[in-house]
Amino acid sequence: AQTIHQWPVAEIKAVGSPLSLGCTIKGKSSPNLYWYWQATGGTLQQLFYSITVGQVESVVQLNLSASRPKDDQFILSTEKLLLSHSGFYLCAWSLGERLFFGHGTKLSVL
């Protein structure tokens, strides 16, 4: 069975500090991978998607970047956090139809 693991579960970071969030998918070969962001009480905003290793498309510009170094791994990062980066980050996968989410990472930027 496929599993999706996100890390860390939660982070508290200072403005201007770097960030790296990770996501691993097991049990599926060459899935489409996605990063979403959700403000508290808000809807989901797609940030990035990737259909293959080494290829990442940006959907919105939020001073964040993403990389897919392996088929089953998706990384979200930034060198300098902003207050506006606070929120809930969700990794997701699909094989073209249904979208399945990880449990998310709660990020607080202070």
């Binding site: 998607y49 959907v59 989410f101």
Partner: protein, 111 residues
């Protein structure tokens, strides 16, 4: 741009009752998905529809692409149905991976 309008924004039901959530689309959508987000933030995929109606237990969803709407019906509501429900649609100008989410319906089930 493409938009998804979800209603109501909040809904309160007593256990055992039912209701419907709705999403209206401003442009032609290729497919729709419905998700439940629980109190821990986890999102559960309830349905994927490219057309027609699907049913799963106490939930039923319909997608009418011609009239640009989708509904999610809940019957015999249980406490565990509480959470926020989102619809998400693939735009007509389908850009692979671009899924547009509605603003969500916060559902509270009361004993």
């Amino acid at each position: 741009g493409d938009q998804v309008e979800q209603s109501p924004s909040a809904l309160s039901l007593h256990e055992g009752t039912g209701s419907a959530l709705r999403c209206n689309f401003t442009t032609t959508m290729r497919a729709v998905q419905w998700f439940q987000q629980n109190s821990r933030g986890s999102l559960i995929n309830l349905f994927y529809l490219a057309s027609g109606t699907k049913e799963n237990g106490r939930l039923k969803s319909t997608f009418n692409s011609k009239e640009s709407y989708s509904t999610l019906h809940i019957r015999d509501a249980q406490l565990e149905d509480s959470g926020t429900y989102f619809c998400a649609a693939e735009g007509g100008d389908y850009n692979q991976g671009k899924l547009i989410f509605g603003q969500g319906t916060k559902l509270s089930i009361k004993p």
